[in-house]
């Protein structure tokens, strides 16, 4: 599904390398987690994959189902099936959440040569999905993320994911700012979307989210590289001993 090879990335504005040769393959139907200390490059990886400005790829490649995505515009990547659940969802005053979702769903359908959803079908779909995530009508009517609590913003991200039905979902620190109940809701939302044709890359600092979204593979990222890959037990190891032991072991 997602294949990243020897990816090197630096900040455009300063000559600072952030990713220093990331290799990662996520297969369809699998959940991969990336854990790592702050500043290791986890969020940069998410942004670079989704096409945010400000980064320069100096080496390597990233392919989504065989297609080189690094040359694509952000909206083309989205239409190709990539989705990033933002660590800090952006507030957009003046744009209603419903309008936003509908525009996004139909833009992607259009880009893929599919017919736009009628208002009726769209409404039916969004009501059902919103209900699962305990998102009320008021949240749908309000401007995008404006006045939303931290948990509401994250649930709204998952709602967007559920509506857009991407094939490759990247969740960037989706657990940050969530209490236990909210985390459960978000995790249930994600788990409901798990299927054989869809892959997840879950970026997190802590192991707790992985109690709810069980990963197939866990990667540890440090200083711009994946330094260790293992099964779910790797996340538990981090939980118990922190990153220090793993870092020491790799550096030794």
């Amino acid at each position: 599904m997602l294949e990243i090879k020897n990816l090197h990335v630096k900040l455009e504005e300063e000559d600072k390398a952030i990713l220093k040769g990331v290799d990662l393959t996520v297969e369809a139907g699998k959940v991969h987690a990336i854990m790592g200390p702050n500043g290791s490059g986890k969020s940069t990886l998410a942004y670079v994959l989704s096409g945010r400005d400000g980064y320069e790829v100096t080496e390597g490649e990233a392919r989504l189902e065989g297609e080189d995505i690094l040359e694509m515009e952000p909206e083309e990547r989205a239409a190709a099936g990539l989705f990033l659940a933002f660590q800090y969802p952006v507030e957009i005053p003046g744009v209603g959440n419903m309008t936003f979702l509908r525009t996004a769903v139909n833009a992607q359908r259009k880009a893929r040569g599919e017919e736009e959803l009628s208002s009726g079908d769209f409404l039916k779909l969004i009501r059902a999905r919103a209900k699962d995530l305990k998102i009320d009508a008021d949240m749908l009517k309000r401007p995008v993320n404006v006045g939303f609590s931290g948990g509401e913003k994250k649930r709204n991200e998952i709602l967007q994911m559920a509506m857009l039905e991407p094939r490759m979902c990247i969740l960037d620190e989706t657990d940050s700012g969530l209490d236990v109940d909210a985390m459960k809701l978000v995790a249930d939302g994600v788990n409901a979307l798990r299927d054989a044709g869809r892959a997840f890359l879950v970026i997190t600092h802590y192991q707790r989210l992985l109690d709810h979204i069980k990963p197939d593979v866990v990667h540890i990222m440090a200083d711009g590289r994946i330094i260790k890959t293992g099964g779910p037990e790797l996340a538990l190891e981090v939980e118990q001993n922190g990153y220090a032991d793993i870092l020491a072991e790799v550096n030794a």
Binding site: S50, G51, R52, D53, E73, P74, E75, R77, A78, A79, L84, F86, P89, V90, I92, P93, G94, V95, T99, F100, T103, A104, A107, Q108, A111, P143, Q160, L164
Partner: protein, 439 residues
Amino acid sequence: MSTQPRPGTRAARLEQKLQATAARLDTMALPASAGWLRRAREDALTRLKAMGLPERRDEYWRHTDPAKLIAPQPVSAKLLTVTDESEVFSGIDRLKLVFVDGVFDAAASDDLAQEGIEICRLAEAGQRDIHWAQDLYATLEARGQAPVTRPLAVLNSAFAEDGVLIRVTGKVSRPVSLVYRRSAPEGEAMLHHLLRLEPGAELTLLENGPMAARYNTVMEAFIDEGAALHHVRAQGRDHERMGITHLFARLGAGSVLKSFTLSANGVLLRNEAVVWLEGQGGSAHVAGAAMGDGAFLHDDTVFINHAAPDCESRQVFKKVLRRGAVGVFQGKILVDQVAQKTDGYQISQSLLLDETSQFLAKPELEIYADDVKCSHGSTSGEIDADQFFYLRARGIAEDEAKALLVLAFLAEALAEIADETLAEEMRERLRGWVHRHNA
């Protein structure tokens, strides 16, 4: 023996201005009218001669050069044939009054007789010996000459050939729609409208279209106790036209004024609004959305006087500018000493779509009461990069993402239109503009 003021002094400049004004006015003849209207016109002419036509040197014309608005010959302006959208408000059930090149077109207009409302053309009323408008015509305009003069409104009171006089006694179900059409690239039009909303009356007034290559309109609105005037105006899309408009409104206790103006394109356009809140609990909202691409100057000049307690006012002006377009905002709130518990709000913002456009804002507050709430803000900024990326990351193409954000920027001004159908109509026009001006 008269003494000449020393050259370069204020007195000398005024002298010069008055001479130029007299010379300009000598080339113009007052339109034919009888009794009361004749007297009102002559009075306006006298006032104008004493005040002089505006110059760029005048404080309130610093950012907008009035020279082309008063030059003897208006610059011609290409006619824009709009084929990509229907005429504004054409889908709305309304009482239509059509003016072509500033002249009333009875054949294209609806029957003026409607329950709860009395409509008469100025040109017709002016021929009568007595008319209800005779004690009102030009009175708000005259009052609006302080604290700053508005000479082009005085010019209008003297020379406007036509207009509509509307008296509303009840709730009018259908909006009254003034439609301005142009048939020639040359020409000038001046209209003077007068609205009288009697206590408790309600009216929605629509205006659309640029009426000539150069135009000057005045609307005087007398809004009595408990009455409500909803005013929505779209000023057409012609690029080269020039215009100056004045809205003067006097609000009685508990009355409401909501005025929204959409201005798209136009090399020189100034909309002035002068509002007096004279009765307790009145509410005046004046808003506008202006869209400029290239040769464009749009000026909103607003004065709101809180002259009674417990009144509320809002000024919400938004401008979207690109490729050298210029936006001007001059807005003042004056709160008299009696106007305790005033709630005044003023915001003027521009969204600069590139680095060549500019926005000049002059917000003013003058407050003499001690228990008031007044806020004002003015900003100019560009499309927010994070918001833009967020939308695109969800699959929304650049073009559409920009349109969404521009409309989001305009939302606060659009929210000043109470009627959702009219708001949606304005939103559609604005969306159309953004998509046309995206290259």
